[in-house]
């Protein structure tokens, strides 16, 4: 419950004053003040102009406890659509395959390590696939995580075809009767269509083993980024059909409010949040905590 405590601690003082005036505005039933302060709070939390507008409009004219209404509205955005069902994190195949995608430095490899550790701790047999064959020492980095999580890692040399790494890893995972295969990939910016095509290819070759692969494809989003998250979600979703989001670096002062903006446009549930560099610093996403942190 307390995983956003740092979030508050490090905040710029300006926000503190802002939140108290927001609370006042909310109580006073003054629509003008409410609009203005709420917009400021939301935008400074990276929610973005459009999503902020919608949230504001949805409560500005309504009866009732506005603070409650506001939280409800945001929870509805976060928990609606595909996010309505609680996430069970259940492994649906043998092996279950998770594909991690995202921009450079967003936290894919770290998340791969954390996820591997989480399932390994449940006694599952986990294999990591070193699909980042581009960045210097990316393979070594994943290997260190594999060691930390005490799981196997499958890799080829740097520069080899990422899709073939993924394919071979799945072949091996099936043969070895693994419970979970996590495929790490190289970071890429979503507007580079040739690199996005490369991701699509990884997905296609995994499917050669069966339509069900990969069971889950997650976009790993850095909470520090702003409105570009929307473009990321859209374009990665187009390329590889995402199943959800993982938001990292929420242990900083960034609020990650851009996921509200994302959720207004693309129906993707947030599954996990990263709250540190340690192996245990991965938490299931709790919408209530997220909303609290955003408004506090």
């Amino acid at each position: 419950m307390s995983f956003f405590k740092n979030l508050r601690a490090g905040l710029a003082k300006t926000r503190d004053g802002l939140v108290s005036s927001l609370k006042k505005a909310v109580q006073k039933d003054n629509n003008e003040d409410l609009r203005e302060t709420l917009e400021e709070v939301l935008i400074m939390g990276d929610v973005g102009v459009h999503a902020a507008d919608r949230i504001i409009e949805s409560i500005a004219g309504r009866e009732g406890d506005r603070w409650e209404l506001l939280q409800q509205e945001m929870l509805a955005i976060l928990g609606g659509g595909n996010g309505a069902e609680p996430y069970t994190a259940e492994l649906r195949g043998k092996p279950h395959v998770i594909l991690l995608v995202g921009t450079n430095g967003s936290g894919k490899t770290t998340t791969a390590g954390k996820l591997a550790a989480k399932y390994a701790a449940q006694g599952k047999r986990v294999i990591l696939a070193a699909g980042d064959t581009y960045r210097a020492a990316a393979i070594e980095q994943l290997a260190v995580w594999a060691k930390r999580a005490d799981v196997e890692v499958i890799s080829q040399e740097r520069g080899s075809d990422a899709a073939s790494v993924a394919y071979d890893a799945l072949t091996a995972a099936i043969a070895r009767g693994a419970d979970l295969l996590i495929v790490d990939t190289a970071g890429r910016l979503q507007n580079r269509s040739n690199l996005m095509e490369e991701l699509a290819k990884i997905r296609r070759v995994l499917k050669k083993h069966g339509e069900e692969y990969p069971h889950e494809t997650f976009l790993v989003l850095d909470a520090t980024i702003g409105q570009n998250a929307l473009s990321q979600a859209k374009l990665f979703h187009e390329a590889v059909a995402l199943d959800g989001l993982i938001v990292t670096k929420l242990d900083g002062t960034a609020k990650g409010g851009m996921i509200l903006a994302v959720r207004q446009e693309v129906d993707l549930p947030v599954r996990y949040v990263g709250v540190g560099e340690g192996i245990d610093d991965l938490m299931p996403f709790a919408p209530e905590d997220f909303v609290k942190a955003l408004l506090d």
Partner: protein, 441 residues
Amino acid sequence: MFEEISSKLDAAFKKLRGRGKLNEKDVTAGLREIRLALLEADVHFKVVKEFLANVKERAVGQEVLDSISPGQQLVKIVNDELVKLLGGQRAPIRLASQPPTVVLLAGLQGSGKTTFAAKLAQRYIKRDKRVHLVAGDIYRPAAADQLEQLAKQIGASITRGEEGELPDSIAARAIKKAAGDLQDLVIVDTAGRLHVDEDLMKEIERVHAVAKPDETLLVVDGMTGQDAVNVATSFQERIAIDGFVLTKMDGDARGGAALSIRHVTGKPIKFVGTGEGVDALEDFHPDRMANRILGMGDVVGLVEKAAQSVDMEKAAHLADRMRRQQFTLDDFADQLSQLKKMGPLDQIMGMIPGAAKMPKGMKVDDKAMGRTEAIISSMTPLERSEPVILNGSRRKRIARGSGTSVQEVNQLLKQFDMIKKMMKKMGGKRGKKGRMTPRFQ
């Protein structure tokens, strides 16, 4: 996203059609769209507020120049203020009077420090400087391996930490060694750290104190949102930052963080990272950044450039032919050479709001333009005015003559057809005057 904002701005400026002075009401209306554009670009809320107040003060009461519309005038004011705020002049690395020059890199996790270290090193190695890299990230798995592999690739030397050695000690050892080895430049890479991580912020203070850098650069992800302000000020409070590096700018982020950072710290943005390769490093250009943040292309530059270089008479003639749909391949070649006078094609395209909307096959680059010219000049005058006669054997001859392929000739003819069709449509919509570039008026 670019297009959406530019068309919104266009719409707002359509309201500002009047002549004379810019009045407060019009300015306020216009700035509302600018505000949206800035916020969507992730410029910090407070920075936007201050910036717009500033612009408003400057704009209200200004005489509108005869040759441009009030909308254009306002854009120019906004643009000029943005460029000014982003930092007028280029700010290169300050070299030490006594080599080696020490550069310290700091930043959040995943912002691109290590990659930038290699890029900066590569830039100086290309200038025949000797560069030494320091692997100061002792936390992230394989971070030192990453820097070492990059060092090898570009031909820099490197110091890595020994088992359990702390970053300040690694840096001190490396700098001493580099001075002895007559290195010109030492670049100290450090671990990514959150600005609220007290232990790690103390650590970088120690590294800074020991390394006594000539240049301390904060490396910031170009996609950063509102938090950029917190990050920049926190680092600045702990170590004296001399400037910033904006990374991942080859993406489609508008990069409003640049403005926020610049505004709250007063320090210049020195470099822009534009790709994963070690060559993908550019100097910071405030004017380009301003265009990008506004997301509307360099309207002002386009207007100015166009006025300078397009032969007005020819343009009028061209417009006339277009209207009467007599546009031939000769005209096409003419138009290309006009475009060429205006500068590199990608730059021109960047200046035209909505250029991204052009049909895919029509996004030509300079090289393709050269080929196009070659193809057209290999045609006979008759072929140019009557392209319907271009049968297979004629196309083959043209391909041979221009050093291209028949496919390329075919493609060009297809493009030409498309342009003609587009012009037909445009001609219909724009009415008698046949103006070609009214989008930003």
